[in-house]
Each structure stands twice: as C-alpha cells, then as structure tokens.
C-alpha cells in the first residue's frame, strides 16, 4: 500500500518561526508522491541568538526527520548555514548524515551548486527584506564564490514577507538587470517570499538564468532523493539539470 510520499519524503528545517511561502511553493513544484516534512525554527527578526537557536533546533529536527524516514534533510537558512563558517558547512552535514543515517544538505550548498550548474559568473540579487541587508547579501554571494553584480531589496520586515506583492520578484529583477546589464544570473534571495511563479518569465524576458533560494533547495533535495525528471514551470534549473 502506498504512502503519500511514496516517491520521496523531503525534510526541511525552515528558519521562519512562522513559515508560509516555502510550503506553498513546495507543493506548486512537487510531483505527485513527494511530500514535505517541516520543522519551523526560531527566526522572528533574525537576531544572532535566533540564528544560533535555529541551528540547534535544526539538529534535533534532522534526527526526528531521519527517524521518521525522510529521504533527505535540508538544513535551511543561508544566514544560519553561513554562521557556521563556509569552510565548516560540509563537515557539519557529513557528520550529521553519518550520525542520523540520512542524506543531509544545506540551503547554502544547494544554492552554490545551483549557481555552478547554471554556469553563473556575475550574479545580480534581489531579495525581500529591508535594504539595510544589502551588504550582507553581497557578502553572502562572495562567500559562495560568485561575483555580485548589483542588489535590490523589496523592503519588507521579516514578519511580513508572506505579504510581499507577487509582482515584485519580476519588477525588481527587471530593475536590477537594467542597472547591471552585465549580470548573467539573477539570484532571488530568501525562500520565504513569492518568487516561484515568476522564474520562467524572468528568464525569458531578461535573458538570464534565475536561481531562487527556494527553487535551489527544492532542486537539490529532489535530485538527492532520486526524483530526477525535468519539472516544468520553474526555470532552467529544474528543467535541464
């Protein structure tokens, strides 16, 4: 008798204390027979204490997810992952995978691999938070080994990212590409605002590759769990790789 997640069950440790958009976009993208196991973490405004507490809750959640039979566990949150030190992330996931007996990946590693797979060189960024976060996003991109080529924000506080207008992903992408025509890729940062619906249009209209955080996490998790077929509607990444 089949399970709901008879093809793959994907564990995701979701940074926002209240998580909305990731689940919506997961089930927009997931083929039949793929389910999400989710634990929400501790990020309310993104303080250092919340980041540290989120990592600790992730480790516990990963064990529970493995025990529940998840095929892969994603330690979500690029800022949480990078707080461990880029050089330590692979070691953390390897050790955890060995301990719990399930594949473990991180949001940061998923996004870096997605950019590599898309052949990205110069990456323009748009994201949902206030523009005080611009420098952090530029540094984050450099830490992943790519050249940043402009950054724009949607200006939302953390609590209201689920209310960001669905048109903004496209509009900000148009603007950042116009201001930074050298960009070959647009990274739509944060997996928790409405972006998945806009990926195809941005790629076609602006002639760039698009990597969104949510799409990259989903792509890497699906491929790691053995769901390898092309998935249409969400950019080159899920179609070609």
């Amino acid at each position: 008798m089949p399970l709901l997640g008879h093809r793959a069950r994907i564990g995701y440790c979701s940074p926002p204390f209240v998580t909305e958009t990731f689940c919506t976009e997961f089930y927009m993208m997931a083929p039949e027979g793929v389910t999400l196991l989710i634990t929400t973490l501790e990020i309310r405004t993104r303080t250092k204490e919340e980041v540290a507490a989120s990592h600790q809750r992730s480790l516990l959640a990963a064990k529970y997810m493995a025990d529940a039979g998840a095929d892969v566990v994603v330690l979500g949150g690029n800022p949480i992952n990078q707080s461990l030190g880029m050089e330590n992330i692979a070691c953390v996931t390897d050790d955890l995978a060995r301990e719990i007996g399930t594949k473990v990946i991180t949001s940061t590693a998923a996004q870096r691999e997605a950019l590599e797979t898309l052949g990205a060189k110069k990456v323009a960024q748009v994201y949902c938070y206030e523009d005080a976060e611009n420098e952090r996003h530029l540094n984050s991109m450099r830490n992943m080994g790519f050249e940043p080529a402009g950054v724009l924000s949607a200006g939302s506080d953390f609590m209201n990212i689920g209310r960001v207008d669905g048109k903004l992903a496209l509009e900000l992408s148009r603007k950042v590409k116009a201001e930074n025509p050298q960009a070959d890729t647009i990274h739509i940062g944060s997996a928790h605002w409405a972006t998945a619906h806009a990926i195809d249009q941005i790629e076609k209209e602006l002639g760039v590759s698009v990597m969104t955080s949510q799409q990259a996490i989903m792509w890497k998790a699906l491929r790691t769990a053995g769901v390898t077929e092309p998935i249409a509607g969400f950019g080159r990444l899920l179609i070609e790789f």
Partner: protein, 241 residues
C-alpha cells in the same frame, strides 16, 4: 501575494509536521495559504510537551496575527484539552481580543463539525496504539458526544504518521463500522496521518458521516476566514456546511 483570498495560521503540534500541510494544499482553493509553526510534541505525549506546545502556540498566534493571518488555529486536541475543554472558548476569545485576529482551537473545530453533521454516536479510529483508546473515548465524551467504540492502528509513533499507508484510513473505518454498527459517525482522530483522500469513500460505502481532525480544522478555518463555497472531495462537511 499567494494568500490573496485567505491566510490560515495553524500551530501544529508535531515538531516535524508532514501530512497536515500536504492535505491542506489538497483542499485549499487557489489564493488560500497556510502559515505554520511547528510545536513541541515529539516522540511521546507528555504533559511537558503539551505545556511547551501551548506556550509556543500563544506566541505563534500573536506572530501570525502580526503577519496578517485571517484566522489562527491552536492545533492539537490533546494540547487543547490539557487546558480543560470548558476553558477553550475563553482562551480563544481572550487571544482574539488581544491580537485582533480570529482564533479557533482544534477541539472546538471538531466539536462544531460534529454538531453540524448531526452526530450522535461516534466511533473513533486513531494511530497512536491501543493504550490510547481510553484517552480518545474520554476526549470524545469531553466534547459532548457518545463514544461507541475506539480502535487503533498499531505501531506508529507520532512523527512516523507519514509512513502510514494510504489504505489504512478506509480499512480501519470499515472495521469500526463492522464492530460498532450503531455508529452514525466515524471520527478519524489526529490531523497528521493520511485520511483526507478516504473521506468520500467511507461516507459513500459505509453510510456514515466522517469527521476527521484535519478536515474539521481546515473547514472551520476556511469558514472563519470567509471561504464559504462548497469544496468537493472531502466529505459532507465541506460540501454542505
């Protein structure tokens, strides 16, 4: 935004939540989204887990309201009932007054659903093992309905409910109706094992009403948020009320 019709907050007891989110997005019309916080119920049902979950629920409800949720559900019949059924309307009313957002509790959703369905004699099925049968019978009596019988699937931890085969809901409902032919309602208890797909078949083949916890929660949340149209595929409750 994705939740342009309604945004439903749900405080989900299992620290790792799988089936509720899956079934929510099977039921939800376009434009309805879920805001999720996972709570503290892990491997065992303990008073400590219930207390921690209730506290985290209250914080999540305030955060969800601040995020613009149209309604917040305090999830978990055991978590709710640990406060005393008689206290739940007051808890919801006080929190709604404080947050300015509608607040409902899983227990009250289920009670109202059974009242709507005209239920008199309820047979319950659950997945947490026979040692919990009496707890389920007592919970039903606390909600004001006659419990004519309780049976359980065996061997499933709460965090492993996603591994329950999809046929189990119908099979156990059929067994219940055979064992307790006087039952006019089958209650599939807990919002975290696969049941939504089986509701129509159980009602059609066994001649009973079905109330499952997840269906009742989503039904009450939708109706509270102004999503009033009939929804097909998930029983009389969604079609007729």
């Amino acid at each position: 935004m994705y939740g342009y019709r309604a945004r439903i907050g749900y405080c989900s007891p299992p620290v790792v939540t799988e089936v509720f989110v899956y079934e929510f997005y099977k039921m939800a019309p376009p434009g309805v989204t879920l805001l999720l916080t996972t709570l503290e119920v892990g491997l065992e049902y303990t008073q400590q887990a219930f207390d921690g979950s209730h506290d985290r629920s209250l914080e999540a409800a305030r955060y969800m309201a601040g995020s613009g949720a149209d309604v917040v559900v305090l999830g978990g019949n055991p978590v709710n009932q640990s406060r005393g059924v008689e206290n739940l309307p007051g808890i919801c009313a006080d929190l709604a007054k404080e947050t300015g957002t509608k607040v409902v509790a899983s227990t009250l959703c289920q009670k109202e659903a059974m009242e709507k369905l005209g239920v008199k004699k309820v047979a319950s099925a659950h997945a947490s093992g026979a040692k919990h049968n009496e707890r389920h019978a007592e919970q039903m009596r606390n909600m004001g309905f006659e419990s004519v019988g309780v049976t359980s699937l065996e061997g499933h931890k709460l965090l492993g409910y996603g591994r329950i085969p999809t046929e189990a809901a119908f099979d156990i409902a059929k067994q219940l109706k055979t064992d307790y032919p006087e039952a006019d309602c089958i209650h599939l208890a807990s919002a975290h094992w696969p049941t939504a797909h089986a509701i129509d078949r159980i009602e059609a083949e066994l001649g009973v009403s079905v109330m499952n916890s997840q269906q009742a929660i989503v039904w009450k949340a939708f109706r509270s948020a102004g999503i009033t149209e009939p929804i097909e595929g998930f029983g009389r409750l969604f079609r007729e009320f």
